[in-house]
């Protein structure tokens, strides 16, 4: 047999039907659902008189619209948001799928809840009507976002019509320097390859620096595979993966656990397997980074200066000028001279316990700058509870941060957490698009530790100076 990549192996294990032209029906092991991209799909089922094919493999949780303020049990959602969340309540009940309502302590961002509850396991196919489904690739699962028509297709048939993507390898060799995190890795990769660098490919992340990451860190890396244009990001499972999964509510137990681990240990890229594209970065070369523009590829080390539009080529010259205008930045300005007025720590990229620990380590015993608005939004109710138990919540509160309930929050600002026009935010989320965090709002992406450092000084800051 010819050597296979990890992606090849998972793909082959899930082809339910292959047509002569290579169009496949790919079987889906886990279908995650949230309130924004699913109502039209459930309505489609209803209109056609169709059922959910595998309700046991379908898990729903509201996350995008939900308020994160402590009084949310008393409302706080606008009419449209309320209708959308209620539609999910109704659909989950009517179609008999697993559901974590807003009132459940396990509620949170779908991509944090899935792994936390043991729904996401190595070797699975996982989809969700959300591009950041790539997150689950950290477990050695083939996981990617789909549109609402495809959500309906998976609900009705538990399959997707797919053609296979190409294989791409992104290797991060060596060790990371102090102050450099998984977020800096994933942003640096996008900075190097561009937001279309992974188009048509599934990326396997590998190398010593990836192996050394915790599961939380690996989720951060895979989460942003989509910002690099890839269909999915994936990391081969290892002992860290198994240890994370063990004992989770929906992970296998007893003899099934043993059988599962034996299978999971076969999930790696064979020696000599073919990759269509290979990118290698040295871990030692990666610095703490921030974005300066309105594309996730606009990445620079924090020690750099704002670039000039004419330092780019092709269509990027105009795009860079548009970014500079939107971000109100002058070329040549030191990134560390850029003042911010908002700090957002959270999202499916950086809303897990390790992220909160990293931010709290910088903030301990310190205060945010006066007048700055700062919030921490844990990725799930369970992350929140754990952070309270570990004393992290108190560190944030003492530093002057708002300590919120779980949800997507200001990552995409569908709930009341938004930037006002002209406000500038140090954010641990994943997109710095125009208007992403609120119309006219300006976003700089960075790691939780870097965001915490920025909160203290009120400017983009090199976290290494605070360590």
């Amino acid at each position: 047999m010819s050597p296979k990549t990890l992606y090849d192996k998972i793909w082959d294990a899930h082809v339910a039907h292959e047509a002569e032209d290579g169009t496949c029906l790919l079987y889906i092991d886990r279908h995650l659902v949230h309130e924004v991209t699913s109502p039209q799909a459930f309505e489609g089922l209803r209109l056609a008189g169709r059922k959910v094919h595998a309700p046991d493999k379908t898990i729903a949780v509201p996350d995008h619209n939900v308020p994160t303020t402590l009084d949310r049990a008393n409302g706080g959602m606008n009419e449209e948001s309320r209708i959308q969340v209620e539609a999910l309540d109704t659909n989950a009940r009517e179609f008999g799928i697993h559901y974590y309502p807003v009132s459940d302590v396990r509620q949170g961002i779908v991509h944090i809840v899935g792994p936390e509850q043991g729904w996401t396991l190595p070797g699975m196919t996982v989809v969700c009507g959300d591009s950041h489904t790539a997150t689950h690739g950290a477990f050695g699962a083939l996981a990617h976002g789909i549109g609402t028509s495809e959500v309906e297709h998976v609900l009705a048939t538990q399959t997707l019509i797919q053609k296979k993507s190409k294989n791409m390898k992104v290797e991060i060799t060596g060790k990371l320097a102090p102050g450099v995190t998984a977020k800096d890795i994933t942003l640096s990769i996008i900075g190097a390859t561009g937001t279309a660098g992974g188009n048509g490919h599934v990326i396997e992340y590998c190398g010593e620096a990836i192996r050394d990451l915790s599961m939380e860190g690996r989720m951060t890396v895979c989460n942003m595979a989509i910002e690099g244009g890839a269909r999915a990001g994936i990391i081969a499972p290892d002992e860290k993966t198994f240890a994370y999964c063990k004992g989770r509510p929906h992970a296998p137990k007893g003899a099934q656990w043993e059988a599962a681990v034996a299978y999971w240990k076969t999930l790696f890229t064979d020696e000599g397997a073919h990759f269509d594209k290979v990118v290698t970065l040295r871990g030692e070369d990666i610095a703490p980074v921030v974005t300066w523009g309105t594309s996730p590829e606009d990445v620079l080390p924090i020690t750099a200066t704002v670039p000039a539009a004419d330092s780019f080529t092709g269509g990027k010259v105009g795009a860079a000028q548009r970014s500079l205008d939107y971000m109100a930045l002058t070329p040549g300005t030191k990134l560390t001279d850029i003042a911010i007025d908002t700090v957002f720590i959270g999202s499916c990229t950086n809303g897990r316990i390790e992220d909160l620990r990293a931010a709290a380590a910088i903030l301990k015993g310190k205060k945010k700058k006066d007048g700055l608005r700062a919030m921490v939004v844990p990725g799930s109710g369970l992350v929140r509870a754990q952070a309270e138990e570990e004393g992290l919540a108190q560190i944030f509160i003492d530093a002057g941060f708002e300590w919120r309930l779980a949800g997507c929050s200001m990552c995409l600002a569908m709930n009341p957490d938004q930037l006002a026009p002209g406000e500038r935010c140090a954010a641990t989320s994943n997109r710095n698009f125009e208007g992403r965090q609120g119309r006219g709002g300006r976003t700089h992406l960075m790691s939780p530790a870097m965001a915490a450092a920025a909160a203290i000084t009120g400017k983009l800051t090199d976290v290494r100076e605070m360590m």
């Binding site: 032209d21 079987y27 449209e80 591009s131 048939t157 019509i161 599962a260 092709g314 997109r431």
Partner: protein, 201 residues
């Protein structure tokens, strides 16, 4: 689904790279539980000012492009989120064909589910069509899906590639789910085999 076979229409030029789904349809319009009615909010933050007034310079607000049926854009069109609201808004505006050098994967797939043909062409050919589009209502571009050709207003003919299955579904307005359910036996067979091999799933 609406069929797509041939189209002869006005093309709106949008010469920007990395047009993302937040630009195409900002999140405040994702709260709908319907598929229809989003066309008025297509490119909302580029098209209207803070008070909801049209920004005259934006291409779709110019008189000659108000009835555009084709959009010509820069590379990596539709990057960002998986929101199908993006193609819903495009189709609801009346645009059923996008021409660009490359697309984000999820957006590209979403188009075919909504009667929109996303055409990929090399940058130099997109550049020619972009210039053609800039002529406004004097220039009609013709798209023939069956022949897989685009004809510029000057008579230049460009061939494009499209997946044969996607082409078939688009030309016939087929419902994917119905097609897949015809393969129910294959799915059931797969499920029996998979649950024996990986019972923990």
């Amino acid at each position: 689904m609406q069929k797509f076979t041939k189209l002869s229409g006005i093309a709106a030029p949008l010469p920007l790279v990395n047009i993302d789904t937040d630009m195409i349809i900002p999140k405040q319009f994702l709260k709908t539980i319907k598929r229809s009615g989003l066309g008025v909010n297509l490119f909302d933050e580029m098209r209207y000012d803070q008070d909801g007034n049209e920004i005259p310079d934006f291409v779709l607000n110019k008189p000659q492009y108000r009835d555009a049926q084709i959009l010509v854009a820069g590379e990596n069109f539709g990057c960002g989120s998986s929101r199908e609201h993006a193609p819903w808004a495009i189709a609801d505006f009346g645009i059923t064909c996008v021409i660009a050098p490359s697309y984000a994967d999820i957006f590209y797939n979403n188009c075919f589910k909504n009667g929109i043909l996303p055409i990929t062409l090399p940058q130099d050919q997109v550049d020619i069509l972009m210039k053609d589009a800039e002529k406004g209502s004097n220039a009609r571009i013709e798209v023939d899906l069956e022949a897989q050709t685009i004809t510029s207003s000057d008579g230049d003919v460009f061939h494009f590639e499209v997946d044969s299955f996607k082409k078939h579904c688009l030309m016939n307005g087929l419902d994917d789910i119905g097609l897949t359910q015809e393969k129910a036996a294959a799915i059931a067979g797969f499920e029996a085999k998979a649950s024996a091999e990986r019972p923990w799933v």
